[in-house]
Symmetry: C2
Subunit: 238 residues, 2 copies
DNA sequence: AACTAAACTGACTGGTCAGTCATTAAGAAA
DNA sequence: TTTCTTAATGACTGACCAGTCAGTTTAGTT
């Protein structure tokens, strides 16, 4: 059975320039299919989604899917990887840091970008799939843990460490501090995606919740005895 | 078609004393079936679980399930409600509060019980189902939001408020403070359930992580200027 | 012991859906 | 124009599984 190479599909948004194979329509069937898969799997889960629906959404016959992916599970896996990678890339653009700022300022900037990422459709779907289905796909789970959770924590941890050495923040294990911020933001981002069910969240805007989290977090990091601190005047009143 | 009343199944652990109907084996078929359903749905999700497997696990023929539940979806719904209720009840026993303690002490005690609850199998499964499947069951989602999330937050909020008026804690909106603690604990409890994938969590014990969270949280609540505070000597060194 | 009512069983059915493959269509090359 | 290669199609198949129901078992009643 002849079947095209699919190993490059991890980043389906990049058209495969080296491949001069002929194709009838647009140019990137795999990306079309993965996008449709994203929506259907995201809505119904692995077992619940139907390949007929994915095909229809992609504007393609069911058989075409099997030219690019050996089976449903492989399509699911490719979709998770592709979506995760796309999400990371979009996140990276959002968290660009300025060179010489206070750690607090860096944290605020990171917080804003990270929050925007967490509230994006892409992340919300990935998150749901991770918690719901990646049980059965340890390699994908590890991939997500390394590339999303651990990566995010490294960014935060580095800033916290710098803040500690600068005397802005109290002494704290950077990894722990990072875990605290990521759990605060991730969980509340998930809840915000289910706003309707939580009366208190329904009233607040996304940005207000994000700022509440940041202020709360910073108040836990600031030294309890603000004697010789450097950038202490910037603290807002709660 | 005659079919027994199922409306009382929300709390399947309580045998129905009023009902003197004859049954062959133990006495509580519904609870058997719901327990099997908990395991199968918890592992595979609504679409992925098979009624044959649930029946086999319950030690019952498939037809028997249909004597107690009209269809698969109804069984799923009953299972979610029953599990949630059972989880709440077990949680309530864990968070009994002493009358006259400092707010900090109350918070620590609540934190220990709440954490034990969050790390239980029951909660972990409910949590997964909520995030994965309750999309399609708004009423169950609301039930969970009210009875688990909001209820937990009310408990926390009341303690925080007392701590603020006693001068132990800095001024903070109780609802917000409660949301912070519940997001910290819930997210990290979920991660602990996936220990293997997170190198930093793999090293620590459950209790250590719980204590890290509590210390971090308390440090965010304590007044920044510890002038006339009452119970300040108890703060441990990080 | 005979009867009855209700609990229980599991083979069966019909619909659904992942995966297949013979056929068609679209270029490219000659 | 004809030929050749390969992308694409969608009707088809076979496995699977939710839901059914005619028959069986149990236990209470007379």
């Amino acid at each position: 059975m002849t079947r095209v190479d699919v190993s490059h599909l991890d980043t389906p948004t990049l058209p495969d320039a080296a491949d001069a194979r002929r194709r009838r329509t647009p140019e990137e069937r795999p990306a079309q299919i993965l996008d449709a898969a994203f929506h259907e799997f995201g809505e119904r889960g692995l077992a619940g989604a139907r390949l007929d629906d994915i095909a229809r959404r992609a504007g393609v016959a069911k058989g075409t899917i099997y030219l690019y992916f050996p089976n449903k599970e492989a399509l699911f896996r490719a979709m998770v990887r592709a979506t995760t990678i796309a999400a990371i890339e979009s996140a990276e653009q959002l968290v660009e840091q300025e060179g010489r700022e206070s750690a607090e300022m860096q944290l605020r900037r990171l917080g804003v970008g990270w929050w925007t990422f967490l509230r994006s459709d892409r992340f919300q779907v990935v998150q749901r799939l991770v918690l719901a289905e990646l049980h059965h796909f340890p390699d994908l789970m590890q991939f997500y843990a390394d590339e999303v959770v651990a990566r995010g924590r490294r960014l935060i941890g580095a800033i916290v460490e710098r803040g500690t050495t600068r005397g802005e923040f109290r002494p704290i294990v950077p990894g722990t501090a990072a875990r605290m911020l990521s759990s605060l933001t991730m969980m509340q981002a998930i809840w915000c995606g289910r706003r309707q069910y939580f009366s208190d969240l329904a009233l607040a805007t996304d940005d207000e919740i994000r700022d509440e989290i940041l202020e709360f977090y910073l108040s836990a990091l600031r030294p309890n005895l603000p004697v010789g601190s450097t950038t202490d005047a910037s603290r807002p009143t709660p």
